[in-house]
Structure formats: structure tokens, C-alpha cells
Symmetry: D2
Subunit: 362 residues, 4 copies
């Protein structure tokens, strides 16, 4: 009956449907005195926005934010920051024929079963459009993190269908990620991915992939075991993004190929600081950040909306076939990079702020 809030003391509540009046969020827990740059927020949103390249849906929305509270003279006041984004380019009429259908791979049936009613236009609340609010909130989180600790969060496309890069996460920069339409920092692989997606698009089909995310220079001590482990909440945050099917950290599922003697990261001293010789753990042990780079990956399924004809049923149980014209993404990954970063920033900000409490008591 609720479920639209993430975070414990840095709380983000989102609202809005794909084709409703507007979408937005309330960020409750931003410390006071932080300079909030609307241009930066808009820029982050533009990385997620549709229509940015021919790899994405041609639905064009500027997604500029309106900050309605919590910021005075450009500085946060410690009160909730409410953000709204208008739904400017809705073509709900496109969805009229889908009103009583359950699109395969979509949440139409889930919502219909749970709520008994739904706003079917553009997928309503289950639409990935709602992640624009997350990117806006994530931009606030990034602003806080960059002020207080100098975090650098970089996500990028690691795999698309059968193409992947093995680039060293620590070598990845924002410039490399933004240098191409697919947001893969390995340029040769990026070209292959782009070609593949263009071909998939022509086939009226879609593909999924894997996004990798690296946080360099994280502070030690984030995470509140035993249930609020940092990696546990990163997992939750990532699985709450539309179309995700898996999360892994450090070695992830490949950890089973290693024996204990191979997987244990050996502690040592480097330049007077504790470090580990390897980083199989991905920067988190026992649910608490160790100070080593945090590295995780997220699996995305192929976009369920495709141009090919598919069978399905309507609400009365009649068999019917549908094909979706036009506006959809053959691959969501280039746009999802900004969402993964935003979600990571929200979780890290929450746990960083929580961990500052200990300083108040020492």
C-alpha cells in the first residue's frame, strides 16, 4: 500500500505516471547548506531522457526539473526538496488499444491483479519514465557526496547481448563513458554494440545487457549490519530499477570458480594505509565498506516492448495478437547508466550520513 520511498534518513519518495499530469519526487534528508545546481540536475536527467540518439526511443522529452521547495537562494535549507518534471510529450492515444490488454513482459497483468484498476497509458506507474525522478534525486545525492567526500561514481555498459568489454573499472572516466551513444567506455566494443543494436532495431526486436558500476575512493564504514548491509541495499536499489534481473558484487556469481585461498583478499599496508592486495570482495565485507573500490554489476532484460507481433490475452481472457508501432527502445542500457548511478548515489548518501552519527559520539 506504500513502497514509494527509498532510504532511511536520506529519503527519496517518487510519484507519477508515465502519461499523468507530471512526475516527481521529494528528497527529505538533504543537509542544509548544500549548493543545489539546477543545471547539473537537468544534465543528469538528459543522460536518461529519451530521444538522445538513434539507439533510444524517439519519444522526445526535455525532462527539465522544477524545484518547488527546500532550496533558497540556490542553497539547501534542510527541508524537503520537492522536484517536478512535466509530462510534456504524451501521446496517450497510442495506448488506447492496449487499455484492456496484458502486454507480454510488462507489468500490466501484475498491476491489474493487485490493484483491480490501473492507468494503462504508457504503462502508468510501472513505466521506466518514473526513473527520471530517481535520476533527479540521485543528482542531489551526488552533489552531497561530492561536497563531503569526493566520491566518484561511474556506471557504464559492460555487456549487450553477446558483446562485452573487460575494461578495468578503475580506468574508466566519465568522459570515456559519455564519448559514445551506448555509454561503453571501450570504444571498439562500443562500436560493435551500436551496430548490433541498430540491427536489432531493424529486426523490430530488443536486447538486454549488463551495466557495471564502480565507486572509487569510498569512505570506510558505510553499511549497518546485519540486515542493512551496504551491498544488500545496493542490491535492493538495483533490483527496484525497471527491467533488472540480477545483481552481483565483486566476483559475483563467478566467485564459485575460486577456492577460499584464491578469493580471500590479503590485507597489507600501502603508503601507510590498510589495503588489500586484491579486491575480489568488491569493496564491501560484512556489509561494511572497506575503503577499497566498490564494484558491482546489474543485469537488464531485453525491452519487453517490441515491434514484432506477439500473442497475449485481454482482461476477459480472449487471445489476441499485438504489435507495437514506433516509440520504444531496442536496448535500454545507454539510458539506464544514469539510473544505476543515481540509485547508487542515493544509497551511498544515505549510509554515509548514517555513519556520520558515530562521529557525534566520539
Amino acid at each position: 500500500m506504500s513502497g514509494n520511498t527509498i532510504g532511511k534518513i536520506f529519503k527519496v519518495t517518487t510519484w507519477g505516471e508515465s502519461h499523468g499530469d507530471s512526475i516527481g519526487c521529494v528528497v527529505d534528508g538533504c543537509p542544509s547548506g548544500i549548493t543545489i545546481d539546477t543545471d547539473f540536475i537537468n544534465n543528469e536527467c538528459s543522460r536518461r531522457a529519451p530521444g538522445q540518439s538513434n539507439l533510444t526511443t524517439p519519444r522526445k522529452e526535455s525532462d527539465t526539473v522544477r524545484i518547488m521547495s527546500g532550496v533558497y537562494n540556490g542553497v539547501s535549507t534542510g527541508t524537503p526538496i520537492a522536484i517536478m518534471i512535466e509530462n510534456s510529450n504524451v501521446q496517450s492515444v497510442d495506448y488506447d488499444n492496449l487499455k484492456d490488454l496484458f502486454r507480454p513482459g510488462h507489468a500490466d497483468y501484475s498491476y491489474h491483479s493487485k490493484y483491480g484498476t490501473r492507468d494503462h497509458r504508457g504503462g502508468g506507474r510501472s513505466s521506466a519514465r518514473t526513473t527520471a525522478s530517481i535520476v533527479a534525486a540521485g543528482a542531489v545525492a551526488k552533489t552531497i557526496l561530492s561536497k563531503i567526500h569526493g566520491f566518484e561514481i561511474n556506471a557504464y555498459v559492460k555487456k549487450v547481448y553477446n558483446i562485452s568489454t573487460n575494461i578495468n573499472p578503475l580506468s574508466v572516466t566519465r568522459e570515456m563513458v559519455e564519448s559514445n551513444a551506448i555509454r561503453c567506455p571501450d570504444l571498439l566494443v562500443a562500436e560493435e554494440m551500436i551496430e548490433l543494436i541498430e540491427s536489432i532495431k531493424e529486426q523490430k526486436n530488443s536486447v538486454g545487457g549488463v551495466i557495471e558500476c564502480v565507486i572509487k575512493n569510498p569512505p570506510i564504514g558505510m553499511g549497518e549490519p546485519v540486515f542493512d548491509k551496504l551491498d544488500a541495499d545496493l542490491a535492493k536499489a538495483m533490483l527496484s530499477i525497471n527491467a533488472t534481473k540480477g545483481f552481483e558484487i565483486g566476483e559475483g556469481f563467478d566467485v564459485i570458480k575460486l577456492k577460499g585461498s584464491e578469493n580471500n583478499d590479503i590485507f597489507t599496508i600501502l603508503n601507510g594505509k590498510v589495503t588489500t592486495k586484491t579486491n575480489h570482495s568488491g569493496g564491501i565485507i560484512g556489509g561494511i565498506s572497506t575503503g577499497m573500490p566498490i564494484i558491482f554489476r546489474v543485469a537488464f532484460k531485453p525491452t519487453p516492448t517490441i515491434g514484432l507481433s506477439q500473442e497475449t490475452i485481454d482482461v476477459d481472457g480472449n487471445m489476441i495478437s499485438i504489435e507495437t508501432a514506433g516509440r520504444h527502445d531496442p536496448c535500454v542500457l545507454p539510458r539506464a547508466v544514469a539510473i544505476v548511478e543515481a540509485m547508487a548515489a542515493i544509497i551511498l548518501c544515505d549510509y554515509y550520513l548514517l555513519d556520520t552519527i558515530k562521529r557525534g559520539t566520539r
Copy 2:
């Protein structure tokens, strides 16, 4: 500063250290009128308990529960159920030499950095021993679920190191899982796994693996989007278990091998009920259960404690080498099966109860 509670309205709070006075939990949110069977709880705990076979640590603890509140004449009263398990077989002296060390792969350094102090004995709060409380709480959740909906939750070992089974999850029964020491329902594969682990044990090393979990006949409608998606909270719950490194649902990371047209589950009508021809999604779409079987997998790293000599540092930064005699598991997976089931039961119970609210308003 907190973090020891999981669940929204079916809330489980655990407490206790490996070698402290005792461990336990408070289950707040069990409906009244549920028959609570102490034998069933103890039996569940025995599946996780050490010393059950030569594949596990010889540390022997009976792990019988003491129910301290919330149950009167064998029936829940709707008030918190407090459960305690004594720490009967602690040999803290074994850990004296580890007091100032950071064991590789363990949370010693994380806890030391975050808290400035720690109970080092047996790993203290970061020890997997604390999951005994989770199994006890999970037994209460299972009791509720079995009464109100007839859930069946089965977890089992799917992979160990380089050995794996492709058994059909829907064919797995509790008897098959419990028929062998490794808890793999595929008997031929189970034998191979057991041989492997015995060999690893002789090498004084350890291995990890993958546990698969299937929930047959789940109710439709569990999950509260957009952040409290059922799969998101299953992911969080699984990543909060000690030694886990990944979570995936349905096709999981292999989803990238499929195109949209292949991965979309086609809705159809079977025996008058809505179903899907395939179940690539793993029973959850848009964060809400669809009524199809819920199937997910969890990756476990090899036990960090090994008999082989390893290098590390102490709190003063001195290099030192350690080797751990005796009591540890060469592979945690057979014992972790009960933990995965318990965690799944807790999450499902929470979301099932939450979803009943809608019935009160229709």
C-alpha cells in the same frame, strides 16, 4: 547505528554475538491465533546447525530455542515473539590469538574501522552463527504462510565450485533436498559435490556455490512498487546473508542471451486461469508476484576461514601469517539452504500480510 531489523509489518530483529551470552530475535507482527510448534522451529534450526555431517564444522551446538513471549498455550497472541538460543559450545580461547588480527575475507577490519572496538570471539556479530536467529524467525514465517496460503518454499544446492545440476526446480521436493548431506536434490550430482568437498577439506581449503530457491503456488499481488518490489526485497534479504555475492531471478544474468521476442512470457489461459507459457521472469513482473513459480538464485563465496596458511596484518599494521586449526566449514552451502528459505519466508510473509490490506478495503 541500527540495521538489525528486517520487514515492514512482519518485523524480525536479531541480536547476539557468536560467543556472547546468547543469540536470538524478536518477531513483531505475527498475527494472533497461529499455532506455534517449537519442535518445528528446532527442526528448522537443526538444518542450519553445525556438526550435522562431515561436510560441516565439527563445532556442535544443539540450537534449541526458548520462546520467551508472544505465545500462550501454544498459540500466538499477536504480541512480539521473543526467541533465545544459548551459546552452549563456545571455545573463545581458540580466538585469543586472533584478537588483534584482521582475518582475510572476514569482517574483522570492517567492524574495527566502523566501530573502533569489537567482540572478536568467533567473529562476534559478523559470525554466520547469528543466522540461527533468522532460521528460527523464518520458521514462524513459514508457519504463518502454510496456514494462510499453502506456500511451499524449497531451496537447494545447485552449484558447488565446478559441479552443477540442471534439475527442474518444479520437480524438487523437501525429501529430495534432505536426502543427502549436501542438500542437492539431484542424487548423482550430489555425490560428486560431496566428493569434491571432502577433497577440498583435505586440502584445508574451501569452496562456494549457488543455491536455487523455488516458491510454488505463490499468491498474486505480493510486492509494493516502485521501491519495495518483491524481487528487490528478496535481493536485499539474500545479500544480507553472510558470504553472499550475487542474486538473480528468473533468467537472471543469462537473460542477456535472449532477445525480447524470446524472453517475453506469453500470457494465456490454462484451466480457466491466467498463466504464462514460459516463466523467464521467475514469477515477478513489475515487482509484483504474478502467481507463477518464483525462482531465484544466490551466489555464496568460499568460506574465508581455511586451514592453509595466509598472510595478513594486525591492528598495528604488522605483517603476520595465520592458519586456522579445526572448526570451520569447507563449504557453507548445505547449511545455508535453511537460511535462504528462512529469509525468503520472512520477506514473503511480510508482503503477503501487507497485501491483505487491500482486501479490507474492497
Copy 3:
């Protein structure tokens, strides 16, 4: 760092400053299928709005709501209902001279000390203007309650300064309350109160008073002991309203005048139903509603903004004297009636929905 949300599963998050871009709220937890009437919400807001009579501030704001999400074709969808109210009639220039002052009785100094910065215009976040969002959210709660149980919530002015009514709460109707500008259902007393307030207004001073609230025909079973007692959360909700200084239920502070034998409500059977001969308890025992009418009272202090000259200090510690021209209420009580009702509706809705869970398990 947060604190702008009330409710457990019927969650209301408010945002906005008195003279900011706008104010509003997100209602997360409204069940699906509820008809949402914008006119009703606007009408509730108009009861709180300024400028409704010469007893209130002449600041004139229409306070009409814009529903941005969660409602489709006039019916709730189970997703968050976001509501916005524009700040149409702000005269921030009136506050320029107050920018660096701490107004006596106001939260200027509190906010300055806590946050280091603040939006001083119109009191910013600490302004009672923010309660317009609560009234809007309360209107949604009232709609739910009226659909599912037939609640009737009536608040009214019981005392102003030295004038009070002893009207029987059970005899009070909405019409009686709305029949006069002070919202006292006892017409003779109402006239006295109005005269008093007009005189106080001429004196450029202000007065406080007591609002009483009665809920007839409440369901049995609301409240989750031991901490989430229904009366405990009503107390919290009322004390979170601006300018309140006390809460009491049933006999309240006068309970000390009774002995146990006098105060105990004797159970009996009336028309085949359990009832009590008296209702000293005010409808809640042990934190759970008994089915008897819920009756509580809230004390409001005199409006801190007055026209008379007052001494204070500025942020640099200089003594200074201020007098506030124009737009303020000599007595907030007639407008606060709608706020008390709204807050009560939010709490009751939350606990009513929570209590429906038990029905799902019987």
C-alpha cells in the same frame, strides 16, 4: 534530517515553504478504487484557508489543489497521490526586515540554530501555511474512512481565552460547527468568542484556546500496542500541528480529580453489544479503540505574531524592537479546526488499514 512523513502504511509526506514556489504532499498508501473528489478536497482546504472571515488574516489564498498523480478517471489507482498548491499571494517583501531577526514565539531561532540557514520569508517551512497540505491529505483519508466504515470526525472550538462551552460532544454536527466564524457549535458561546477576538484584534494582540474533537462510531481494534497506541499517535499528530502545547484524551488532566472507582468505565451490554456505562477513557483503552466515541482535546497557544511592539535580538545579538503590520490571525482556532480533523483522519486511516491485516489471516 528528515521528519516530513507521518503514517506507517498510509504515509503522508509534505513539502514546501510559506513563500516558496508552492507547497504540497505525497499520499502513499491510498487503496485503489477510491473515488477522489477534487471539490471535496478544495472545500476542506477552504475551511483552513486565510481570509475566510474578519477573525482571520486578510492574506487571501484560494488554495486549490492540483492532483498530479495516483488518480485516473477520478479513481485512485493505488499509486502515490501527489498534490500541489501554488503559493499565489506571497508578499515576501513584507518579510525583508525580518530576515535577520528572531521573532519572539516563532521558530526563527530554532531553525537558524539547527540548519545554519533558513528561508525566512513568511516563516518558511515553519509557517502554518504548510498545514494546507495536511488538510488536503486529510481529505483523502476522510474519503477512505467514509467509504469503508462510515466515520464521522468533528472538531470544534471549545475554549478561547476565558470563554468556553460544555456542549456534549456527541450532539455536535458539522452544520453546527460551520454555522459561525469561530467554529464553536454552541451559538451563544460562539458569539462571545467572536466579540472577544474582535476586541483582541483591535488591541493588536492574540489569544489561544482549546479544540475538541470527537469521532463517533469508530471501529474496534485500531492501535498497535505497546508504542503505537492509537492515543499515542493522536498525541504525536496533534503536537506536530503548529502552535499546539497539549493533548488530552477522555477525562485528560481532569482525570486526577476522580478515584479509580469513579473513573473506571463499567462494561455492560446494550442492544446486544458490548458498551461501557460511562466514557471517561475517551474511547481508547490499552492503546486500542474500544468502539466507544473517541474524544480528545488540543491546546493552542496565542498566535505569536502580534501587532504590538516587542523586543528581540537579531542574528548578531543586537537588541531590536519589532512590530508586525497587517496580515496575521488574532486567533488561529477557527482555521485550526480543519487541521485537527485532517490529522485525526490521517492517523485513523493508517491504523484502520493496519488493522485490516488481521482479517486477511483469519
Copy 4:
């Protein structure tokens, strides 16, 4: 379905029934490195324990705590502190005749209606015995507060029936409060109260009263508006104590006797620090502590259990008369002083820790 936890990041969960196996609590959120003194906790509990004077019930329980986790070598580790108190002196047989009755003024009927079943022995979960856990948790909170800020929290009996003291709260010390059996720091008034209670006890009746609580030297900035105002959560905490019927802060309900010009606390500078000339507000404005002493009062009803014969009904609706022999308090106030202090300490500790977050970001 839950409701047994109080606090946001300093979280206290209590469990246990009056005549069950035992009672206790889990304190999750105690910072690491705090010296925990079991004797101090026991001493606090003894102030609430029965049998301490002839003004209280002769039921004798030592109420010594067993700390089961979270403390190692006498120092908190940052993990949950679980505390248990045995129910040593239960005479459940005394309650056999009450099993199917609804005692007037007690929660028997409320619990029966809500849960359908209950542990009737000694009032079960609704018994004030469960507050022993709160006092133990409060002792931990007091320990933290005394280490980090030097708080002094003093509660005392201000009124009993028709007898009251007007002692200046700022003059009250712990010694004065503990100098007599009724815990009223005004010795002459204390004697009158004691005489009254002895007379009431002979009449087999009971009386209520008012406890006042003062916190001297509180830090500025505690409280998270708009809903988590410090006074709002103090109100909730106090109303969650058994037998309370009202809460007021500063002038409280008497604030209506003052005009705005009289009630506003004038800011001024004293010894270089901001202060107010008066403290009508009771130390909290806008929900945030101002640094002035926090002063509030709580109304307690007369103990519902009395020796006089009373009418009531049983679960089948039959009229029946009961009289309770022996073990009950003619006046709960002397024992409740420790509970009020403990609850205040828990709330203050929670908000103090929350407010330290801002320091981590400046």
C-alpha cells in the same frame, strides 16, 4: 501487527508478558565505545520495581537485568544490546478467575476484540510490568546522553488527586526526588500525598496524578520538523506509557490564559549566549529544542485495579461482579517517575544522535 518499537535510529523494541517466561528489550543503535554499567541499569529498574514501599503493590520482583549481547568487556560494541528480565514472582493462579472477564478500566476487552485471544495472566502484554524493559533501555539512553552532553533529566510527582506542589522545576535534584516514597521533591507536600495514598489504600480505592519532567541544559537543535517535532515525539512516548491520559509542554493547557504579548518568550543575550527572558514554551519552539530547559507534564489516571467490588461482563456477555484481592498499587505515580524519565531519555537520545548528522556534513 507490530508497534513494539520506538525510536528512529536509537531503536528500542520491547517484548514480554506480565506472567510469561520473561520480559525484555533490544536496544539497537547504541553507539560503540560506551561503558555500560549493569548496576546503574538495575538501580534504575529498582526505582520502578514493585514492593519498594507500602505505597506500592506488595508483589516483589528484583528485576535484575541479564545483558545478552552488544556489550563486550563492559563496553558497547555498536551491535544490538539485548536485555532480559526474568518474571520471578508470578502468581498466575490469582488470575484464573479473571480469564474470561473484562476488568473495568483495563485493556482486557480491547485485546480480546483486536486479537481474538490473549494471555490474561496479570494483564499479559498490556500490563505495566512491561515498562521494566523501558526503564532498562532508558538507562542505556541516559548513559549515552550523560557521556556526550551532560544531560540531566528529572521527573517527579507534581500532583496526586487534590494535592499539588508548585516547586520550581529548575530547583529539583535527584536527591530531593528520591528522598521520599512518593517521589515529590517538595517535602511538606510529599507528606500530604503519602497520607492521602495511605487513606485511599485503606478505602481499597486508587488515585491518579501528574508527573512533571525537566531536562536542564539540553542541546539546541533536537527535533526534525514538521512531523517529527521533539515535543510531538515526547507526547507520543508519554501517551504510550500505561494509564496516561494527557501531555502538555511549557504552559500547556494553561497557555490559553495568556495573550500573545504575555506568552511570547522574549529573546535576549545573557553571558554572551542567546536565551529567552521567560520559558513559556517549555524549551521547544517549532518542534526544535532552543537550549532552554525542556519542561513537560503527564497526567496519569487512577489505577484501574481496585479492591472495591465492581460490576462487569464476561466474554459471553454475562453480568458479573469482581473484587481484586491484594496485589495492586493505590497510586502508580511514584513508580512511574522512572518510566517517564526513561521514555524521555530514549526520545532525546534518538533525536540527539539524529542531529549529529549535520555535523558530519559541515
